[in-house]
């Protein structure tokens, strides 16, 4: 029985690995042939074959930068507060409760919230800014948790040494605590940024399913901004182009490549954090 049992876990574990490899192979094998400079830069087409995903990629990057620019400072500041300033009490526990609840909400709920706030109440229509801000809120709890964790890993001795040398609390935080947590914070940043690429449910009714017609590569925050993930859904479900399958396969491959790259970078950074904590020789100065 021991042997059979062990064998069974091996079978299941390898099945999980094989499934992943199969999924990646299928996606890349179908999608890579679709990817060309034209595909990556051209405008999408509504009715004829041969459309690209250029504006979608541009919108995705736009949303990525804007939403991260909002999430990162608030998330790190709140993480710093919880890791180094907060005392147990009602305020702290309400903050934690809110963060936990926000992190478990289904993503479509964020979509409806963004729609109700940005599209209906503020009358922005479908907009890049509305989409970006919706994603900011979606990403905030993750950013908070990851940055709090990495700030907590900074040893207390460092902080106390700085305070003992006469530095104020703020000086200590800015010059000692934050710099030592940089690798962890960067990992947090990459992980939250990576999520922006894949999200679609929160964006359908906030950033919309069309690209800006007049200047699809512009910076206008109130133009509609369909992202690559949303486009993949759109061509599959509502699109009319005859080569929908090819466009979808290409978009899926681009998404998967981005996900792989982000995972690799995040792992590399997480690895450097582990080395830093394990080695302990290169103390932050």
């Amino acid at each position: 029985v021991d042997r059979i049992g062990t064998g069974l876990t091996w079978v299941i574990a390898s099945a999980v690995l094989v499934l992943l490899v199969a999924i990646l192979t299928i996606l890349l094998k179908r999608g890579l042939p679709q990817i060309s400079w034209h595909f990556l830069t051209a405008r999408p087409s509504e009715l004829e074959a041969g459309g690209g995903v250029g504006p979608e990629i541009w919108n995705t990057l736009y949303l990525l930068v804007v939403s991260t620019a909002v999430t990162a400072p608030i998330g790190i500041a709140a993480g710093l507060y919880l890791a180094r300033y907060a005392r147990p009490g009602r305020f702290t526990s309400i903050v934690r409760f809110s963060a936990e609840t926000l992190s478990t909400l289904p993503t479509i709920v964020y979509g409806l919230f963004g729609f109700a706030l940005f599209v209906v109440t503020l009358r922005w229509g479908m907009s890049r800014l509305g989409g970006a801000l919706t994603l900011s809120l979606l990403n905030l709890p993750l950013m908070l948790r990851l940055s709090e964790e990495s700030l907590r890993r900074v040893p207390h001795e460092l902080e106390e040494a700085s305070l003992a040398l006469g530095a104020t609390r703020l000086q200590t935080v800015l010059r000692v605590v934050l710099p030592s947590a940089v690798p962890g914070l960067v990992t947090a940043l990459i992980l939250t940024a990576g999520r922006v690429f894949g999200e679609s449910a929160p964006l359908l009714f906030t950033a919309g399913t069309t690209v800006a017609h007049r200047s699809p590569f512009g910076f206008q925050p109130f133009a509609s901004g369909e992202t690559l993930a949303v486009h993949l859904w759109y061509v599959n479900s509502e699109g009319l182009v005859p080569d929908a399958h090819a466009v979808a396969a290409g978009s899926a491959a681009v998404l998967i490549l981005v996900v792989l790259i982000f995972n690799l970078i995040a792992n590399a950074f997480a690895g450097s954090v582990a080395r830093r904590l394990g080695g302990g020789r290169r103390g932050p100065t």
């Binding site: 091996w10 305070l163 859904w233």
Partner: protein
């Protein structure tokens, strides 16, 4: 709890000593900085309150034209003709999530056992990154795969759409798997080494010590992981919407088109005008989804906390 204990430890004496020093410019910046940070933390409360408020307003308006009982138990969902019975939708949500969990839970728990107890380190590392990767594949990509691989495979007879609860449940199983593996592996790894060694010392085989001692001891954590996975499956939207067929009728089988709470929100949002009953009712669906997932998460947390208490 851990985090709070650590926070307690964080308020170290040097902070109180600082407070007594005189009001200099640095002192003032110091205080305003801490208020700024508290403000950032308060932003999360604000966000949470805003989400609830903006969903609740149209959601509650729904109940001025349909009673809560009819909304929950009504079997006819046809908003265009003012039938707002959401039963087909939540039954669809439950059915897909149950199917997904039934597939993912055994695979997930066995994988967790492999990671913690059996696999050699290099393969465990590989499996862990595979699980991470599964978790980071976008939901539309899963939907695309389901639509182009699973659905055609399920079209056995002419006339079959291949769409329905079965493909949705299978796609969701893959999406719930990482949650179940991660949480159960953590629960297993948290078991004290002594417990395993005691079992082995009594002459138990690895199989007996794993399934007779460790898994039962880690059960609360594993159950919590499975509930988290279930909640993840229930909240998932895009992948399901792509393969379920979007027919808002009481499901008669698992291979006929159906719909879920979230898939119906996606389908109807584009066709309805804000402020109309047809649009308001979608917010009521979202509220139902929100309450359902909040209840599940609360149960899972409670179970997990009990596990933590038992080990301590």
């Amino acid at each position: 709890l851990e985090a709070e204990a650590a926070a307690q430890a964080d308020t170290h004496p040097s902070a109180t000593k600082n407070r007594r020093s005189s009001w200099s410019l640095t002192r003032i910046t110091d205080i305003s900085a801490s208020w700024l940070l508290a403000g950032a933390a308060a932003f999360l409360i604000l966000g949470m309150a805003a989400v609830v408020l903006f969903l609740a307003r149209p959601g509650v308006r729904t109940f001025s034209f349909v009673s809560p009982a009819n909304f929950l138990a009504g079997r006819t969902w046809s908003p265009a003709s003012n039938f707002f019975g959401a039963a087909p939708l939540w039954v669809g949500s439950l059915a897909t999530s149950v199917l997904a969990t039934a597939v993912a839970a055994p695979v997930g728990v066995i994988s967790a056992v492999f990671i913690v107890e059996i696999g050699p380190p290099p393969i465990v590392r590989l499996l862990r990154s595979a699980v991470e990767l599964f978790a980071s594949i976008p939901s539309v990509v899963y939907g695309f795969l389901g639509l182009t691989l699973l659905v055609p495979a399920l079209q056995r007879r002419p006339g079959d759409t291949g769409l329905g609860i079965l493909p949705a449940g299978l796609v969701l199983a893959i999406m719930a798997l990482p949650t179940i593996v991660t949480v159960s592996a953590d629960a297993l790894a948290a078991q004290p080494r002594a417990r395993r060694e005691a079992a082995l010392a009594l002459g138990a085989t690895r199989w007996q010590s794993t399934w007779g001692v460790l898994v039962p001891a880690a059960t609360p954590g594993i159950v919590a992981g499975v509930i988290f996975g279930f909640a993840r499956a229930m909240g998932e939207t895009m992948a399901v919407q792509m393969v379920i067929g979007n027919a808002a009728v009481m499901p008669r089988g698992i291979t006929t088109p159906a719909a879920t709470l979230s898939s119906e929100i996606v389908m109807e949002m584009a066709n309805t005008i804000p402020g109309t009953p047809q649009n308001d009712v979608l917010f009521a669906l979202a509220l139902l989804l929100l309450v359902g997932s909040a209840v599940l998460i609360a149960i899972a947390r409670r179970v997990a906390r009990r596990a933590g208490g038992a080990n301590a």
